[in-house]
């Protein structure tokens, strides 16, 4: 073999660039976009997320991720009560009162998101006007933005899309003569972000920003020189708005697994005219580490059949990783929303005939799943224990969102997440 260790095998002989998709509309067993606050508030360290919603929203936040470890977290719910429904004028006054009280209590907050919910959307409480009104009152110390995380409009990770989309118009315009710069879009764990930063520096991309930044005051500027690279597959609206401000997307597979991370870095490098050999030299060591770490789980996972229930929109790139790097068979790849354009590079690497589904009719999907009897099922927390009790092995999907899985150094961890349930089942003798 004389090929460079980083040259990737080509796409499959027959790939699925434009696959048929089973579209379903029935009961959806998914989180709403509010759930994104769980990781968004950890990422933006001086931001506060105020949900304007019902007791259900507050209960969701408290139950969904068991995050009560934070004494006074940087999120809360302004619970709409009977009298707020009686008159919207009063509801606005009430909201202002709640926000002022909150900011008094939390002088450390620099960025406040008013987050719309199902009830606030249905009663048409105009949070964008409220944000504007409140911004005028509390500027410049605090900026107030708004987005909707409601279940009637957003599914789980789309909450992050909505949040970042709200940030985009507030970003400063880059000077007209600014050189081309790289913008990585989508929340990544800080450690992962730092790893990518080092690689980009090493291959010679000088201006690299991440959206969102860790502090409200250090959000990047954007303009026609912005070349953006999506770190997450669920950022359709954010991408659209970045493009409306002149940004151009760098098409790439998502940075999951050794292959995904390498493809992602190569795509960025190519955009900035960096020689492939330079990039290969920079990523040889991490790529090798990633391959080695992943190969440890190949025996356990190769040939195993996996079924995805829709959850985070990460399903397609993760399926690509599991199929290409671990040899798993894809029974069904369900995803809440299928963004063909953003997923193009990942789809090209999947074999023709892969069964995709978009949306959900949970009972029918459960029927299909039981019938297919896969070796492992990726699903939400509401379904996992019942399926385990039926004898199926599950991987709960939310862990894929809460665990750092992107990049070379995390490729092995990502594989391990799928090997662990099988490993566990193999160990238990009772």
């Amino acid at each position: 073999m004389t090929t460079s260790p980083v040259i990737l095998p080509g796409p499959p002989a027959s790939s699925c660039s434009n696959p048929p998709i089973l579209r379903e509309r029935g009961q959806r067993e998914v989180f709403c976009g509010l759930t994104g606050i769980m990781w968004l508030h950890r990422k933006i360290q001086d931001a506060f997320f105020l949900i304007v919603g019902s007791r259900t929203c507050a209960h969701l936040m408290q139950s969904a991720a068991g995050v009560m470890i934070f004494a006074e977290p940087r999120f809360a719910t302004a619970i709409i009560e009977e009298r707020d429904l009686a008159g919207l004028a009063d509801a606005n006054e009430e909201l202002d009162r709640v926000v002022m009280r909150l900011l008094e209590r939390r002088p450390d907050i620099r960025l406040l998101f008013l987050v719309g919910s199902c009830p606030s959307e249905v009663i048409k409480l105009d949070l964008s006007r409220a944000a504007k009104r409140l911004s005028e009152r509390v500027a410049p110390a605090v900026r107030v933005l708004n987005y909707s995380g409601s279940g009637i409009e957003t599914t789980f990770t789309q909450g992050e899309d909505a949040c970042l989309a709200a940030l985009v118009p507030s970003l400063a315009a880059a000077p007209a003569d600014a050189p081309e710069s790289l913008l990585v879009v989508g929340v990544l764990a800080d450690a992962v972000e730092d790893q990518f930063r080092r690689i980009f520096a090493e291959i010679g991309i000088r201006h690299v920003d991440f959206l969102p930044a860790r502090k409200a005051g250090s959000m990047p500027s954007i303009g026609p020189g912005t070349r953006y690279l999506l770190a997450q597959p669920f950022l359709g609206e954010t991408a659209r708005l970045i493009e409306s401000r002149g940004g151009q997307r760098i098409a790439a597979p998502f940075p999951l697994g050794a292959e995904g991370a390498a493809g992602w870095i190569h795509a960025a490098g190519a955009t900035f005219g960096i020689a492939p050999a330079t990039i290969d030299a920079a990523i040889t060591a991490p790529l090798e580490r990633a391959r080695k770490a992943v190969s440890r789980y190949r025996d356990m996972l190769a040939g195993r059949r996996i079924f995805f229930f829709p959850d985070s929109q990460l399903e397609v790139p993760i399926a690509r990783f599991l199929h290409r790097e671990l040899g798993m068979e894809l029974v069904e790849v369900g995803t809440p929303y299928f963004h063909k354009e953003h997923l193009a590079a990942d789809l090209a690497l999947l074999p023709a005939g892969t069964a995709f589904s978009e949306g959900q009719d949970v009972d029918r999907q459960l029927d299909r799943c039981r019938k297919a009897a896969p070796d492992i099922v990726v699903c939400g927390l509401g379904l996992a224990n019942p399926l385990e009790a039926e004898g199926l092995t599950t991987k709960w999907a939310i862990e894929l969102v809460f665990t750092p899985i992107q990049g070379f150094e995390q490729a092995g961890d990502l594989a391990e997440l799928f090997a662990r349930p099988l490993n566990r089942r193999a160990r238990l003798e009772v």
Partner: protein, 532 residues
């Protein structure tokens, strides 16, 4: 609008889910947006249920709102019936479903399903989880048992001679605090007394079981928050008296036996004698001397909080310094109970208010919910959980009831274990200045390498000091009371688990005397004054 960080109760439709999930052959069709399905994980993850809750959500989205959400609801009802073949159905709306005003009740009725369909009106913007559970259970009972109700002004038929007295056990639901084990404990107790259980509900009851609730002679209400309204209706409709004592603790269990025996027309004496708890002896054994007068703060649902206060005082010899509940519907009962302890009840669902009260009172033990467990952890106070809202830890693998004599034993263990044991506390006091034994040293079993970080500078006190100064305000000339460095130093020699109390006592002693600067002298004067 109410600013909320953490909530004690979910929305009322979650209460309805707790009832539906506890039952068999019942299905709940809920008009709710995508996302409300999160509630399933409460049951499958926290309670580790092996089945999905019997709930179909319409999960409408924005694009459906312009169209026919009512049709969506009707389709959901029909498909749920075809797939699950329940014997009865409850239908209603979540908070958002309520706003779009599709009238699930009317739609379901028009749907013509061949089973009883029970509409629920659960006002999400006024009411909460326990109310929702109570209303749901009441509606189910009224709809399914109603047709068997006695004609007005007629008496219950007399039980045939030789027939066992029968009762219903009402209130246990899914996601309840130890409901699973309480049912077993109380069922065992009643059966040993020769009383037959007619129906336990909602716990594992089918619609057919609900229909025969009227066959019992009386009702045992385990959880008034949930079964109160249904039991009142059964009393009116079937003339069934209610056992009002909740058997949590030794004294309450004895009262319960006496009350049950009276309704069953049997002699309680043999059962009072035969049923044993270790609690009375454990409390009398000398190691428990150290429990005397421990200051305890209690917060939970009304039933558990009131019961815990009685056990704490009468059965463990604690001093109840705080008692409160988030169950506003039961505020009066809790206020009365608090008055019996000579304190004022805290009625709130604002967790920050509870935290402030705990910080102010500086109890030596907190008995509360998972929320108070977090508060106590932050403030460095031992804590045991006595009430919902629940956490995965509140569903132990072992049998661990709260009710009956076995429950009393569980209470003794779970409340006393977080505290320093008697001899241990004594030794710590003796060796408090020992270089290997001071409170900054890590426990010996962790080895010397893992030296624990110095105890976070008594967070309790930081919060409490201003509050105490305020409380003493009438006597203090102006400004808060301060500590001289030597006094501060001396205070540190007091074992950490009583230091908060010593500080509080000294400050209130100084405050009452207008002493602005606490010296070593003041510290010991206060010690002499308070006597312990």
């Amino acid at each position: 609008m109410q600013l909320t960080v953490w909530t004690y109760e979910g929305p009322p439709h979650v209460g309805a889910m707790r009832v539906a999930t506890a039952m068999r052959d019942l299905h709940y069709v809920l008009h709710a947006p995508q996302g409300d399905t999160y509630a399933d994980l409460l049951f499958t993850m926290i309670e580790r249920r092996s089945k999905r809750p019997p709930v179909t959500y319409t999960t409408f989205q924005a694009r459906d709102l312009g169209g026919d959400t009512a049709a969506l609801f009707q389709t959901a009802c029909h498909e749920a019936y075809e797939r699950f073949r329940p014997k009865a159905m409850i239908v209603g709306a979540s908070c958002t479903g309520e706003l779009i005003q599709d009238d699930p009740a009317g739609l379901a009725k028009a749907g013509g399903l061949p089973i009883p369909v029970i509409p629920l009106e659960l006002p999400s913007y006024q009411k909460k989880e326990n109310w929702g559970a109570a209303e749901t259970f009441y509606q189910i009972v009224r709809h399914l048992a109603g047709p068997q109700a006695l004609p007005p002004n007629s008496a219950r038929p007399i039980r045939a001679a030789g027939e066992k007295p029968r009762c219903n056990l009402l209130g246990p639901t899914a996601l309840g605090f130890r409901h699973r084990d309480d049912v077993r404990a109380v069922t065992g107790l009643l059966e040993r007394m020769g009383i037959a259980i007619n129906v336990t509900a909602p716990w594992e009851a089918s619609p057919a079981d609900i229909a025969r609730l009227g066959n019992a002679d009386f009702n045992v209400v385990l959880y008034p928050e949930i079964a109160g309204p249904a039991a009142q209706w059964l009393k009116r409709s079937f003339g069934q008296p209610i056992v009002s004592t909740v058997p949590i603790g030794v004294g309450a269990t004895r009262d319960f036996i006496t009350e049950v025996a009276r309704l069953a027309e049997i002699d309680p004496a043999p059962f009072l004698k035969a049923e044993e708890s270790r609690l009375p002896w454990y409390s009398r054994s000398v190691d428990s001397t150290y429990l005397t007068g421990k200051r305890v703060f209690i917060f939970g649902d009304a039933t558990h909080a009131i019961a815990a206060a009685r056990v704490a005082r009468e059965e463990l010899g604690f001093e109840v310094v705080g008692l409160g509940t988030y169950s506003r519907e039961f505020a009066r009962d809790v206020r009365e109970a608090a008055a019996r302890h000579g304190i004022e009840a805290l009625i709130t669902d604002d967790y920050l208010e509870v935290e402030a009260r705990v910080a102010e009172l500086q109890p030596e033990l907190v008995l509360g919910t998972q929320m108070e467990r977090h508060i106590a952890k932050r403030l460095g106070v031992p804590c045991a959980v006595i009430s919902a809202p629940v956490h995965v830890q509140d569903f132990p693998a072992r049998y661990s009831p709260q009710m009956g004599f076995e429950g009393a034993d569980v209470l003794f263990d779970t409340w006393v274990h977080p505290l320093m044991m008697g001899l241990e506390e004594h030794l710590l006091g003796m060796f408090r200045d020992d270089f290997e034994f001071h409170d900054g040293a890590a426990p010996s079993h962790l080895g010397h390498a893992s030296r624990a970080p110095a105890r976070a500078a008594e967070p309790v006190i930081e919060v409490a000091a201003p509050a105490m100064a305020e409380a003493a305000a009438p006597v203090v000339a102006d400004g808060p009371t301060g500590w001289a460095p030597e006094a501060e130093q001396e205070l540190r020699k007091i074992p950490f688990f009583v230091r908060g109390k010593a500080r509080r006592n000294t400050e209130s002693f100084a405050g009452q005397r207008g002493i602005r600067l606490i010296t070593v002298e003041t510290l010991y004067d206060a010690k002499a004054h308070f006597g312990r």
